[in-house]
Amino acid sequence: MAKQYGFWIEIDRCVECYACEVACKAEHNVDLGIKWRRVTNVWSGSFPNVTFKTISLSCMHCEKPACEAVCPTGAIKKQPGTGIVTVDQTKCIGCHYCFFACPFGVPQYGKDGTMQKCNMCAERLAKGQEPKCVSTCPGNALHFGTMEELSKLAQEKVAKKLAASTNPSVIISK
């Protein structure tokens, strides 16, 4: 089965430092006003019982990309073997169909009018380097790998947390 590469973000490790956002922009020389990765806070409660969580998101590299499905020129492609969703800017006509189709508001349009977004640092991956956002994350909140590996890691983390030192006598499953 073909592999799907992706990201895993541990929300309880994300400290809203913005290192991923700027590292991404610097790596890809992204135009001002455009962000391939975005850090967002989600607040809940009210003072003094208030809190927030921070999440850092880029393109979701979906299994069934809505953007690819509506792209009239075939500029957007889900790459076989890696699952990375890429955009060929020489084919993009800037019609914004992908913008309306994407449920996450990922597609953005630069100075040249064509769509741009996270490419999972494919050129770094080919050199054996992690995506820039992942490698710089001071909280080690961002991880990269195959979805198989990442979901295993995420499960291990939950299991580890549950086990704790008290070893609770409770099984939690789907």
């Binding site: 073909a2 592999k3 309880d12 400290v15 809203e16 430092c17 913005y18 290192a19 956002e21 700027v22 590292a23 922009k25 610097a26 790596e27 890809h28 001002l32 962000k35 607040w43 009210s46 003072f47 003094p48 208030v50 809190t51 927030f52 921070t54 492609k77 790459q79 073997g81 890696t82 990375i84 890429t86 955009v87 060929d88 800017q89 020489t90 084919k91 993009c92 741009q116 490419n119 494919a122 050129e123 991956l125 080919a126 050199k127 054996g128 380097q129 992690e130 490698s135 710089t136 994350c137 001071p138 909280g139 080690n140 991880h143 990269f144 790998g145 195959t146 890691l153 983390k157 030192s165």
Partner: protein, 769 residues
């Protein structure tokens, strides 16, 4: 490291990835057109000249030169384009913050100073003429020597922003010139180090690795260098199951991740500390044995503290008495508990009292020098490189010459040398101190945007006889400069070395200097030599100087660079605990070298402070203006304003011009609780007028759920525009966005009496513009 943290630091495998893509040529196949275009352009370039890419191990310089995070600077065809991780540096372990990644925009910014200049217009007009580096050095040397002959050497002062690796060079220059007037900001670090040294004999740090409970008191581990280990140790402690109680007025990410939030009003840390001591003593939660053996003045403290019960502190701090009791009990009864105190409590009239309370809390609960508590640390087996400071030349006469003090004269010099508060230096120009300075050198310092009393400093700038700015980019004070000396960024020089714990590495030059300038360090060597003090300044030879500094390590600077390209690591010393006799006998830095603690015990009752005319025990001193300080002002000014010292993306008043950083925080925001804002008819994002009894500024309202409804907060240091994003400069005084313009300049109210920490609290009225 990867073993310890298990799944967290799992390495990505190139082989696995390439296998997944099906071929080694996969890179071409899987990337999009942006990459195809890139490859085409690279291919074109390859025909003409192959792209030369280099990775140079060095240090990030975005927080100023000192204790920089390690980086690999990426240079393509001679241009600095980005950074890659350098895991060998123990300070940041290959991680970097947003500032580090924006470095190329800072280096190639249109705001860079390109060549030395002298003023040709009127002061404040900002008209300059290009001169050479040598002309600038000569011009400054001649003028300083002229003023020295006319008014004495103490007519020169320097203003210093913070501890930098070039701070020692400023001290050395002042010593060789003959002036003690080093102006220190009076708002950071030295304040708490001084008070803790004279209370518990040192500056014991919170043992994050082993504590079960940490009181995060006025500290921001994320904003103050997120890659420097603060974030990692915070998250590791939380994952171990340690509890964190955050004591600070607003909720940021660290508070959101803490177990309890104590949202006190800004500037009221001393009231909280006094009430916590009250609870611990009256509920007999203190460590009686430790108090008996190692604390001086417990009976006096017990009596003194009776006036400060939690119910007294509640209306001042805004923290419910019950919560104060809970925090005090938790801290006192958890064996492995630590307090991590930082800059927050330092900006208040009762700053020394707040920090004394914190030292006393650590002591009476027996939380000093034990694993998991506040510890002195292990030290290093690395021989110390030679210091540049001429500490051995200090005399009482020298201390007496200071024009105004940062720390009381009886206690000078402190660890950084003799100092007067930066504001007092400017105030002297207007006749407000013992005598005036006639010349000021500002190396990496912009007083108008960074220090309280904006209007007074602007007035002093007009009157100052000779003003020199030494900097990388344009500063807020530059229009008033007589000579502007540009210096290189730390990416354009190969010195000095940096030390982090047990590790030392030589700095490497990333690119050649972009203009007619040298480094900060070379500036002082050149100026010292030009003034005739060459014997003390290696006659301007930077290479000989760096070799001299490294002599104790038994190697030259070139040997450090070539033999240890990614740094040299020395063995750490094993930690030692409960070394009380040694800790409490620590010798001070005063002229008499007497101990910090004359009784050899923790100073609950401080006889040295008492002899110097200060209160022997911590007391409460109200804010200049505040809800309980000046209730009569509340009708006109109902909200309490304070400001953040630093941010994730800027350093104090710097870096607003760097586009990738400015995008994250484009406007000067006023954080305001949504309920408060709505009651004033203010919408999220509205521009508002913020007025205090001392000045007014314009800010953009930001609905912020994590703030007390009676408090508003802003980031300090706003003045600079960003050309690439079309943002213009803000005015420096009224009508701008500089919070320093908002606070009192009444000498009786603007300082803490001992450590001259400057207050950053006032009452304000906020209206929609």
């Amino acid at each position: 490291m990867s073993e310890e943290t298990g799944l967290i630091n799992r390495k990505f495998s190139r082989r696995t990835f390439l296998k997944a893509t099906g071929a080694l040529g996969a890179a071409v196949a899987l990337t999009g057109a942006k990459d195809t275009l890139l490859q085409q352009s690279v291919a074109k370039a390859a025909v003409a000249a192959p792209a030369e890419e280099k990775l140079i191990p060095t240090f990030c310089a975005m927080c100023g030169p000192s204790a920089g995070c390690g980086i690999l600077a990426k240079v393509v065809n001679g241009k600095f384009v980005g950074i890659e991780p350098m895991p060998e540096c123990p300070l940041n372990n290959g991680k970097n913050c947003p500032k580090a990644h924006a470095a190329p925009q800072w280096v190639y910014s249109p705001e860079r100073l390109k060549y030395p200049m002298k003023r040709v217009g009127k002061k404040g007009e900002g008209k300059f003429q290009r001169i050479t580096w040598d002309e600038a050095i000569k011009l400054i040397a001649d003028k300083l020597l002229e003023l020295k002959a006319k008014y004495g050497p103490e007519s020169l002062g320097t203003v210093s922003p913070a501890r930098r690796s070039y701070s020692e060079y400023i001290y050395r220059f002042l010593m060789t010139h003959g002036s003690p007037n080093y102006g220190h900001s009076g708002i950071c670090a030295v304040q708490r180090m001084f008070v803790l040294s004279y209370t518990v004999g040192g500056v014991p740090s919170a043992d994050w690795a082993n504590a079960d409970l940490i009181l995060l008191w006025g500290k921001q581990p994320i904003y103050s260098g997120s890659a420097k280990g603060g974030v990692a140790s915070f998250l590791a402690a939380k994952e171990r199951g340690a509890k964190v109680i955050a004591i600070k007025p607003t909720m940021e990410s660290d508070v959101a991740k803490s177990d309890m939030w104590v949202p006190l009003r800004p500037g009221t840390d001393a009231a909280l500390g006094l009430a916590m001591i009250n609870v611990i003593i009256n509920e007999k939660l203190y460590d009686a044995k430790f108090v008996e053996e190692w604390c001086y003045g417990f009976d006096q403290l017990k009596q003194h503290i009776q006036q400060y019960p939690p119910e007294w502190a509640e209306p001042i701090t805004g923290v419910p008495a019950e919560q104060i009791k809970t925090v005090a009990r938790m801290y006192a009864t958890t064996p492995k508990a630590a307090i991590d105190v930082s800059n927050g409590p330092e900006h208040a009239r009762a700053a020394n009292d707040a920090i004394r309370c914190i030292g006393i809390l650590m002591a009476i609960t027996g939380h000093l020098d034990k694993k998991g508590c506040n510890v002195w640390g292990a030290g290093s087996t690395m021989p110390s490189p030679r210091g540049v400071h001429l500490f051995e030349r200090y005399t009482q006469e020298w201390v007496d010459k200071l024009l105004g003090y940062e720390l009381p004269p009886q206690f000078q010099p402190f660890i950084e040398g003799t100092s007067c508060s930066l504001y007092r230096l400017w105030n002297s120009v207007l006749g407000g101190e013992k005598y005036p300075v006639r010349a000021i050198i500002a190396p990496g310092s912009q007083s108008v945007a960074s220090t309280r009393g904006t209007k007074r400093i602007l007035e002093a700038l007009e009157k100052l006889e000779f003003f020199v700015i030494v900097d990388v980019t344009r500063t807020s004070d530059m229009p008033w400069a007589d000579v502007v000396v540009p210096v290189c960024t730390m990416y354009e020089t190969d010195h000095p070395f940096e030390v982090s714990g047990n590790w030392i590495m030589a700095r490497n030059k990333v690119i050649e200097p972009l203009g007619d300038y040298k480094s900060d360090y070379e500036f002082w060597l050149d100026l010292g030599t030009a003034c005739g003090y060459g014997a003390d300044w290696w006659n301007g030879d930077i290479k000989a100087h760096m070799d001299w500094r490294l002599e104790p390590l038994g190697m030259t600077y070139e040997e450090l660079r070539t033999k240890y390209p990614r740094g040299r690591t020395y063995e750490p010393k094993p930690p030692e605990y409960e070394q009380y006799a040694k800790r409490f006998a620590a010798k001070s830095t005063r002229i008499d070298k007497g101990p910090y603690l004359p009784q050899g015990k923790v100073a609950l009752y401080n006889t040295l402070f008492e002899a110097a005319g200060f209160t022997p025990m911590p007391v409460w001193r109200e804010l200049p203006e505040g809800p309980t300080a000046t209730p009569e002002l509340l009708e006109k000014y109902p909200l309490l304003l304070s400001d953040y010292h630093t941010s994730r993306t800027y350093n104090a008043a710097w870096l607003r011009h760097v586009p990738y950083l400015r995008e994250i925080e484009p406007y000067p925001y006023l954080q305001i609780h949504p309920d408060t804002a709505k009651s004033l008819g203010i919408k999220d994002g509205d521009w508002v007028k913020v007025e205090s009894p001392h000045g007014w500024i314009k800010m953009k309202a930001q609905y912020y759920p994590g703030i007390r409804p009676d408090v508003v907060f802003a980031l300090h240091g706003w003045w600079q525009g960003c050309q690439e994003l079309g943002f213009e400069d803000f005015p420096l005084g009224d009508g701008g966005a500089n919070t320093n313009n908002m606070y009192t300049t009444d000498p009786q109210k603007m300082y803490d009496p001992i450590i001259t920490a400057m207050t950053s609290q006032t009452l304000v009225r906020v209206t929609k513009l």
